[in-house]
Amino acid sequence: MRLLRHFQWDKFVPVLAAATLFIGSFQHEKFLTTGNMTFLIQSIGEILLIAFSMTFLIVAGEIDLSVSSIAALSSCALGYTWQHTGNIPVSVFVALLVGTICGAINGLLVTRLGLQSLAVTIGTLALYRGLCYVLLGDDRLKPFPTSFTSLNYKGLLGTWVPYVVVLLVVFGVAFGITLHSTRLGRWVFSIGQSKDAARFVGIPVRRVVLGLFVSNGFMAGLAGVVYTIRFASARPDGAVGMELEVIAAALFAGVSIFGGVGTLWAVTGAVFFFGAIRSLLRLNDFTANELTIVTGSMLLLSVMIPAIGGRINTYRASRAPTVAESAGVQIRPHTDPQPANP
């Protein structure tokens, strides 16, 4: 019990990732090789980039399901501009711009019209994907210059480290510090915990939320660029299903879907963990079908373990459950087991 009470899921997740790498290195000799690590990092690059900004959104009590469509649209925009201007820097700029705009649209619909972000982004998910087809349809783009695409397999300064690590570190540190030790970060948590109380301490709730959607759009756009480089191609049906992977990782990391709780290190750990476990299982000849099952089970466990731990604590903490509890009313983060006292 003691252990359970002091058990903190968010601290545990990165440990889990590390442990997987460690155990994996024994389990399969090919696992912890520089080559495989390169692939591992490349394979989680886009997801992690989006996860950074998505964490902010979820902590603030919002969500964005349209990220993969945004990434795809930015990728298509990149391809389209390249096709017509033949200028890579310009194309990249356009791609990032498109992403940012998409995010802004989501944000405005949520903050101005007061729509639920879940509903809005289901809509924009379809819209942005549709625009990809409008933009490219079945056109064949002229191939990207190798100077651009070779970024992917040329390691940093000739090492095995892929370039995307730079982005991950830079943005990871930036977002991490912002969320956990700046005023903005505290605001995000406050908004997620109580929009009302946030207003009473003068936090510009709408502006912040809008900003979060914009930054999320930008990151999705960046992921789109990375995606384009990695696969040397831009296609309207590219970058599918990222939103579920990102959200799954965030939820696994104990970010509360109701807002107000979550840590970036846990999310980063979760993304790495999923990447590592998949890579390891693939090396062990698990099929894609089995990988899917594993992912789902992980997700279920990630909420069940803390919840069950919490249950036990709750019992010991308060014998007489509050009205709310006996009614099974629970609108509280699954990461904190204690019941609110009436």
């Binding site: 729509l115 809509g123 249950r311 009614a327």
Partner: protein, 344 residues
């Protein structure tokens, strides 16, 4: 000391007149959807006479039947401020199970197919329900998890062994397309279930509880409604409907592959939202959800029938979806503001 009251209390209101507004019309959130549907139907058929030909109607209804069936179940869950993302993969698994059950057998196994399919659905529903109701786990996470697990299991057992038309009983295949009184049999089933569900939600004591819980959970507990039980039931219904939808799926497409049912969840939730089912519980009807499903599929078809360029269709679809959501929101705000000013 009212802040200590165990029930959520609205902010103190200012004095107001005792005018009681007529809400009967406002409550009919299906109305706008129905009208929209009518507009699309009529509008399109004017420019394309074949759109509402007997075959055209059949196509529309067949297309909407499966989404509609799932939407019925999803409505139960949404009404209680919960959500079920696992319906898509549940549909796929049930479809395969049902298909296998009657595969290479003779005619007259329709019932068997449904029993098997629905049974599979109920299992998934029960699993979700228990986790969510008893452990108070967030519905979104749990059902996202089961979405993955079930999809994986389905793909694993199906593999390349897809069920094809020539494995299925002839009467089952024809059941997928036959019409009765000009309406496809599949649609009749959806209608039948829809009616039962509506009657339950409207006229059954336990059905009303779903609305009460979704509308004000703590208060619902205070008047002694068994919230946990109702939650489990809602998920059972959702699972069962997804299972039944799976059977319709096999019948309509004459086969199942490993990816059957993928992506249905979002389409279904969209249908419910458009149909005026509040994602945050308490209001909405099965009829609305069905109309929503009908509307979305109809729009999809009309875009083709109106020869909107292929590559524009999805974009237009997404845009229309946004419009629908925003419109619904605006209407709600208007109504609430109207009532507030009238009463405070």
């Amino acid at each position: 000391m009212t802040t200590v009251a165990p029930v959520a209390t609205p902010p103190p209101a200012r004095p107001a007149s005792v005018l009681a507004g007529r809400a009967t019309l406002l409550r009919r959130r299906e109305l706008p959807v129905g009208i929209a549907l009518l507009v699309v139907l009529v509008g399109t058929s004017i420019s394309n006479h074949r759109f509402l030909s007997s075959q055209g109607r059949t196509d529309l209804m067949l297309a909407a039947a499966i989404t509609g069936m799932v939407a019925i179940g999803e409505t139960f869950v949404l009404l209680m401020r919960k959500v079920d993302l696992s319906v898509g993969s549940t549909l796929g698994l049930a479809a395969y199970a049902a298909g296998t059950a009657i595969k290479d057998g003779g005619d007259g196994q329709l019932l068997k197919a449904f029993v098997v399919g629905i049974a599979v659905g109920l299992c998934v529903g029960l699993f979700n329900g228990l986790l969510i109701a008893l452990l108070d786990l967030p519905a979104l996470v749990v059902t996202l998890g089961t979405l993955y697990v079930v999809a994986g299991i389905q793909a694993k057992i199906v593999g390349g062994e897809r069920i094809t038309a020539d494995h299925l009983p002839a009467d089952f295949i024809s059941f997928g397309v036959d019409r009765f009184l000009g309406v496809p049999k599949l649609m009749w089933i959806v209608i039948a279930i829809g009616i039962v569900a509506s009657l339950y939600l409207r006229h059954a004591h336990s059905g009303r509880d779903l609305y009460a819980v979704g509308s004000n959970p703590p208060a619902a507990a205070l008047v002694g409604i068994p919230v946990r039980t109702r939650t489990i039931v809602a998920y059972l219904v959702s699972g069962g409907c997804a299972g039944a939808a799976g059977v319709l799926f096999v019948a309509r497409l004459g086969g199942v592959d490993a990816n059957a049912g993928g992506g249905y969840e979002l389409a279904v939730i969209a249908a419910c939202v458009v149909g005026g089912v509040n994602i945050f519980g308490g209001s909405g009807t099965v009829v609305g959800a069905l109309l929503g499903a009908m509307l979305l599929r109809t729009i999809g078809f009309s875009l083709s029938a109106l020869s909107i360029p292929e590559f524009w269709q999805q974009a237009v679809n997404g845009a229309l979806l946004l419009v629908a959501i925003s419109a619904d929101r605006v209407v709600t705000i208007r109504r609430d503001r109207a009532e507030r000013t009238r009463h405070r």
